[in-house]
Amino acid sequence: MPTVPVIPSVWPSSSEWFFLSPVLLMAFWGVLVLMLDVLVLRNRTLLSTRAKWLGLTSLVGALAALGLAVGLLWPGVLATDVLSANEEFFNGTIAFDAASALLQVVGIGFLVLVIGLSMTWVFTNEQGEYYALLFWSAVGMILMIEAEEFMTLFVALETMTISIYILTGLETGSKRSSEAALKYLIYGSAASALFLFGLSWVYGLTGTTRLAAVGRALVESRTVEGIGGQWTSGLALLLVLAGFGFKVASVPFHQWTPDVYEGAPAPVTAWIASGSKFASFIAMIKVLMLALGTWSVDTGHLQSPGWVVILSILAAVSMTYGNLAALGQQNFKRMLAYSSIAHSGYLLVGVVAIGVSSQRTEATGAVLYYLCTYGLATLGTFAVAAWLAHDVGSDQIDDLNGLGFRRPVPAFCLAILLLSLIGVPPLAGFFGKMLMFMEALNAGGNGGIALTWLVVVALLNSVVSAFYYVRVLKALYLRQPGPAIGKSFPSGVIWTLVIAAVATVGFGLNPTALLDPLGGAGISLLTSPEPASSGRPVDSNGITQSATVPENPAQTQVPVAPAPSASAR
């Protein structure tokens, strides 16, 4: 055991703090909203007044964070040479690059829409806590997108999920809300524990927690005898995939999805389906590509088929199960929950395409495009689900009957979003699916693994999914108006619907407007940071190399039980 050297403090520079300013603002604003509620408003004002003021304060904070995040993208604000992949920024824990700068704008944009939707109804007495937790879950989400290191990733992921557990259970007087929260917590923490056990093995096999360094160590282990554990690396891979599979609601880990989507307050459901899924998929792509890229196919060091094959099977099963289960649903929120499982399947096809494609950045751009447009479409449809739940007092698809005649604007927007979710040509959902499936097909053409069967399954599933979406469309336009249609739409719902529908049509007619910047983000998302210590005697933490290299030969033993050199010792 070498003595622990003193680490010279590497305090982040001002431009690094500036880069994090949207996140820091949101973390601070959560405290501010909570304090405003506890110290000023609670017990002095009516619940509706309190809710209005806290909602407005939160909206201002979220818009300010969005402004800061957009400002960071402005040419010249951050020098382009600063925005390069480098392990020196934040000591290599947070990606300081173009992808983070762009994707955090999308994440905060989702937050703004969710806050706007939450202000429409008062469904909880704990208004201060509600908005504070929304902010903090957004903080976790964005740090998760930006994480370049397993500890940061794990803590950010838990910040996001634990906040969302509480948000799920916050609806006052709702039995289903508490039940959904407890189920979410039990499934979620079990999945986190699986994920963490996998991470501990990855750490043990490579000796580091940084994504890029893990990737380098695993590449070396293919040639250097010893470090690549046999079945342990397969086990680690499966456990990591289980953790991500839970977060994105893919099939063997999907059981929580319908109950949580149905029981949670509808704005929170919209947040889980858009924000949480967005962040989880990006973190998944980063971990699989930067750190575990070597394990994409069986390398002989891995007693497992590799994550490309595993994820292809999960994708096919998720799509099929989600769509078939959605067919039988009468409950609008539950139908959307099963359709979200199916969409996770489509997105997994995209992730697999990134893994095998020769044009990885294009494939990444396609997945990011799908994530953005799918998030917007889900926010819009859940806005309608929220209106049904709170103003009509029901969850059934039949209660949408005849909406197209009485409320033409919201019904038309909802119809556009549903058509986009099916994948009808001029809309964004079509281009997202087309781009991802094209990348999956191209990968097979270049001598990679043929994904044709997967694309065929995905296309068949798109046809199946049309049946249940069209059932909603039929209710909107072909049935006689029911009694619930007299209710008017609050402005928060209209705004969310119109923004989502306009974006869906706009990005559908002009996909390059979104695809070009996201393709650029894909490049920097997949660029491994260069080791900061190259060519220097002192590494990024200022520790001399000799201090970290163990002197005791016992420490250089292979850390894996069945490895031959360990038994030889």
């Binding site: 055991m1 407890l182 917590l185 750490y203 000796g207 580091t208 990024s540 520790i543």
Partner: protein, 109 residues
Amino acid sequence: MSQDVPLNWYLIVAACVFVIGLFGVMTRRNPIAVLMSIELMLNASNLNILAFWRLGTPNPGEAPLTGVVFTALVIAVAAAEVAVGIALILVCYRVWKSADVDRYDSMLG
């Protein structure tokens, strides 16, 4: 160093604790017992990380305290998770007057 417990022993104990925790999560019906099982799984990971940090091969250029910091963060996260978990169990207990996950079934289908 040669008198130390070998790394493999730690890993075997951690794997056993993890499997016991996983078994508990899947079989116990009392939510508090489920939370305890999840704690076992998290602590198995902690044991793994610390054993790897103390006895494994560090990556060149790795900071000296990675494993300890990781474990401290995991302990903090686990405490937060349990605090939220107990609160939610209390809420559900007040509604159903029972601590049995199988009876929390207002949503099916």
